[in-house]
Symmetry: C2
Subunit: 254 residues, 2 copies
């Protein structure tokens, strides 16, 4: 079984880690579009175009199913992908929503993510139609913070407070609607004491159980469209050990 | 006289503003590569390729000279541009260096910028060869802060302190080696009390005086490769009034 995982950058490696933990024998091919990251600040049509190009690359690697491990791309491009591709396609939004619905008691659920994810309304629609009240907040500084390795400390705490103060006391469950955010989970939980914090990566990995056969040679291929300076640091920071990195540039025009 | 100004995003609008103030009658065409911003996290070869594509777009608009209003692109791609283009090409690095050399008394000069700009060594080489001691610091969070509109306040002050503490007391002059940074000038000057803070945009505009004839119809064309959500806010935030924005997508493959 070969699983394709796509993200706009390195954040999707938190999903890879969760999938690997649950299905250790499956083969995994990961593509991070580091030449064009971040997707969260692009227009919808550009996000759809970039996502289709990346999905086609993974299909050419003969993956059996595709995980869109990027909330922005999941919010904007999942329908198009499911129409265009003949393999099953999974996003990170539905599993996070399901887990939040399972956990909430008050029926007041918060969602944080990039500006594009929040603006897309994808989480809001799914949660509202299940009858819960939704509180959202875009947190554009969280990704650059994580990529600076600032996952705890004074600056991180003041940025967490800056964004999350308006949610405090209103919600009992918070969805981390961006694959970088699990790295900030500790500070977020500290600030929102008592709130259930939902990491979509874990929820997604669990939801795949009826589609994934845990068979294969445990191979891991990591492709990136640009070998930026910070890449090796981030790969090691998230996966916790050195992994081979390959350049996928030229596969499509960047 | 038609002046072309290129930046990876919106930061170069600080240069446009300085050029406009000094040469109010000249025609200006601005291109911001918002589909692929930020350049600071890309590899050198990718930065060169992106910059060439953008320069070609501006040349097709028949500009008489080209300003590379992006420190990352100036650091990595200026030599290639000067070889490939038949019009004069100006970067933001040389004028900032000249102004810093004019101002420093202690001979200890600081440079801050994106990781790519600092890593390129472009400022360090020029300053060192003039005999001054150079202290550098990459400040990756400054651009996202500005793009969030956080140009002052507690978070901005703590990030300024985070990056600039190690320069404090060592330098008498600091070059803002990124076109976003002039918007943080007030907090930077507050923290580094008594240090000369060099805004390259002003230095560049002044240095053009023997090349630019202040003639034309004062026209201003703003092109961007992607109309991202935050764009209008940033254009108004920097230029201080509504300007027409056009989409340049399709001009080259993003």
């Amino acid at each position: 079984m070969k699983i394709g995982i796509f993200d706009s950058g390195v954040g999707g490696l938190t999903v890879l880690k969760a999938v690997r933990r649950r299905y250790p024998r499956a083969d995994i091919v990961y593509l991070g579009d580091t030449a064009r990251v971040p997707y969260g600040i692009r227009s919808k049509s550009t996000i759809v175009r970039f996502t289709l190009e990346c999905a086609e690359f993974l299909v050419s690697k003969e993956v059996d199913l595709l995980i869109v491990a990027c909330n922005t791309a999941s919010a904007h491009a999942l329908d198009v992908l499911r129409k265009e591709l003949s393999i099953p396609v999974f996003g990170v939004i539905e599993p996070g929503v399901k887990e939040a619905l399972r956990l909430t008691k008050s029926g007041n659920v918060g969602v944080i993510g990039t500006s594009a994810t929040i603006r897309s309304g994808a989480y809001q629609r799914k949660l509202s139609s299940a009858g819960v009240r939704v509180f959202t907040k875009a947190c554009p500084l969280f990704v650059p913070l994580v990529e600076e390795g600032l996952v705890e400390g004074d600056i991180t705490r003041s940025v967490v407070e800056h964004y999350l103060s308006e949610l405090k006391g209103k919600i009992d469950t918070l969805i981390l609607g961006c694959t970088h955010y699990p790295l900030l989970k500790k500070e977020i939980e500290n600030f929102l004491r008592g709130v259930n914090v939902v990491d979509s990566s874990e929820a997604l990995a669990l939801s795949l159980s009826s589609f994934v056969r845990d068979e294969g040679s445990s191979s891991l291929e990591l492709y990136f469209t640009d070998l930026s300076q910070n890449l090796e640091f981030m790969v090691n920071f998230i996966l916790g050990k050195g992994e081979g990195i390959r350049l996928a540039r030229g596969v499509f025009a960047t």
